[in-house]
Symmetry: C2
Subunit: 388 residues, 2 copies
């Protein structure tokens, strides 16, 4: 197994950087760095051979950025099930509705993928301590992988984050800092602390490797659909690394000949009380202004601004998708439907995605005969007060 990582490249201005040291944002324009691979060489690692390997996310080692397999910090993340949402589908006449259920990941959310890669790469590049701002789930994931790697971690979380998430991060031995406000305020506190202590900040898309973990959701989607892709992907969007990672995966897989040119419509779902990407989408803007006074009971959607906004909006538009906001009531109803009809314990963010799908089929924007994957990004068990 040999990673074909080649270099880093700014996704906005195109500047290239060496991948042999810790990097954050583009030193030129301050935007997002992407890992780039030697595609000619990667083409020799055959898709079906990688797919047939035992293991989960790290089956795709050649297309991931860690060079030394001994640096991989894994808890068994990825390779999550694609579940046919048969009973909800029957109720609305949608026979090809699926849930990609990320709740069985270590630490109970899709955040495990990105943080397994980011912590592994940080370990390889010699980071001595790590820090993260989080709405909740990413903090638990960082804390778990950092514990496994033996690297100290500082987690900055809103003081009103769900109690299970607060306790989880501390349980893994991270230093937990509770912050007044939203994840944006936690981000400021994390940056300040990192400046003082020299800790490496693994904020979403502010370092190049979390998105590489999220990329594997896109690879798995293709794999699970027999190397085609569904007609639409409905994704609850806070920081947006999931959308950005999947879009990157599709591009890389096409370049490798793993898939053809077909892309799913990429559909962003946000909460009505915090919908910066939806607003920018509707207004035709290339970037999204920060959302004032973000309010939603879905912690992962309470993200007022995203450094990767331009990449999210680009994926939505290029794919012919859209961005839609849903109400708290619709989220709660969809949450119940996931439990009652599918046996899936949905996180509120996953429920929001289902609510978005239902809204778009009602409007006729998505047709019911289309094959659609709704992402449940985490486990509802982490917010038991919502289980009704």
């Amino acid at each position: 197994m040999r990673s074909r990582l080649s270099h880093l490249e700014c996704a906005a201005c195109g500047r290239t950087l060496n991948a042999d040291a810790l990097q954050t944002l583009c030193p030129e324009c301050g935007l997002v760095l992407f890992a780039r691979y030697d595609m000619a060489s990667l083409r020799r690692a055959h898709r079906d051979e990688l797919s047939a390997r035992k293991g989960r996310m790290w089956r795709w080692f050649e297309a991931l950025p860690v060079l030394d397999p001994n640096c991989v910090v894994s808890l068994g993340e990825g390779a999550t099930p694609l579940l046919h949402a048969e009973r909800i589908g029957e109720r609305i006449g949608a026979p090809r509705l699926f849930t990609k259920d990320e709740s069985g990941n270590p630490t109970g959310s899709f955040k495990a993928r990105g943080l397994s890669v980011a912590v592994s790469k940080a370990k390889e590049l010699g980071a001595r301590s790590l820090t993260i701002p989080t709405a909740g789930n990413a903090g638990g994931a960082l804390a778990a992988y950092a514990a496994r790697a033996g690297i100290p971690a500082d987690v900055f979380m809103p003081i009103d984050a769900p109690i299970t998430m607060r306790r989880e991060a501390a349980y893994y031995g991270a230093r937990l800092h509770l912050v007044e406000g939203s994840i944006a305020d936690a981000g400021q506190a994390a940056r300040k602390a990192a400046g003082e202590t020299g800790a490496f900040d693994v904020s979403t898309l502010k370092e190049p490797y979390r998105v590489e973990g999220k990329k594997t959701m896109g690879i798995e989607l293709a794999e699970q659909f027999g190397w085609e892709l569904p007609d639409a992907v409905v994704y609850p969007t806070g920081g947006g690394t999931g959308i950005v990672g999947m879009w990157k995966a599709f591009e890389e897989m096409e370049a490798l000949g793993w898939i053809g040119a077909k892309r799913p419509k990429m559909i962003v779902v946000q909460a009505e009380g915090c919908a910066p990407i939806v607003r920018a989408y509707e207004e035709g803007e290339p970037r999204a202004d920060a959302w004032e006074n973000p309010q939603t009971n879905a912690p992962g959607l309470r993200v007022p601004s995203a450094v990767g906004d331009f990449l999210i909006l680009n994926a939505v538009r290029e794919s012919g998708g859209c961005a839609v906001a849903v109400s708290e009531e619709a989220i709660a109803e969809a949450e119940q439907a996931m439990g009652r009809y599918e046996g899936v314990c949905a996180a509120p963010e996953g429920a929001a995605a289902l609510a978005g799908y239902l809204q778009l089929t009602d409007n006729g924007v998505i047709e019911r005969r289309e094959s659609v994957v709704v992402f449940n990004t985490g486990s509802g068990l982490k917010i038991p007060e919502r289980l009704k």
Copy 2:
């Protein structure tokens, strides 16, 4: 894919029964029924072909009891990671210590395996409603699979079960009945209700198919160790289906030529405040008397008597294993170690297993150089008040 299910056989008196109708306990002696397979035919389903299939637990379809693949009710259970417990191992000089981490199963525990099979088979055999007594996790699992199958479920749970587990079962739409006392009292209430309503009771080992799901933990262990088996398996034991199922798997796999004659020492861990199997093991008894006034903070270990006691004790003795009780303090310490050093969010039962392992290496009963698998049977996220 064709299941090689042949008939049912009493594990105690050997009486055989037809497998084409719902069955509970042996009508002759009142003990445990096992599913039996046409082994000559099953031998033609090659181990490596099954292992190479996509999917998880249901890769072993031929060796599982559901005849019609359309009756399979699955949420993506099984194929859980085997994690090297490297940092705990380093601290105590044990280089081959592993955790089989069941926490990523649907509903956050190993109970998903057994209930996926039991609900699938009950669906195939036409059960109209299901009922279960539970310490907590099995109730959530039954509720989820029953929801997915569209079969009503009644869950009987001690009134002091962890709140996340109570809410979870209700969330999936099961009728939740809270009962004063332990799982034994919940069992009485469930039986009474089943007698009145005709619901099918899926109590541990009181129907023949949950154990078939647990069997897959034994198959996976062999698969993950390259079709050999580790030197010892340390298992937290309440009703004991895990031990019984793995032992059955080893016997079947040897008969099929999948593995050789080597067996791991099967090691039962219970809590000091509820250790009926440990007491029977120490006293040389073939069965275990019910434990009076069971007390432990590990809900899954608060099981005062097990209908499969004779099977558990048999596996422990035949394998040269042992049974050991651990204190609540040792459980809490091991729980912290799993988080701090391994990044695994251990259920208290899984922590008890680690505590048992540590006690036995201290005593020299297990040698530190031996390859040992400690089962973490569930996610600590379901009892957030324990996360410290």
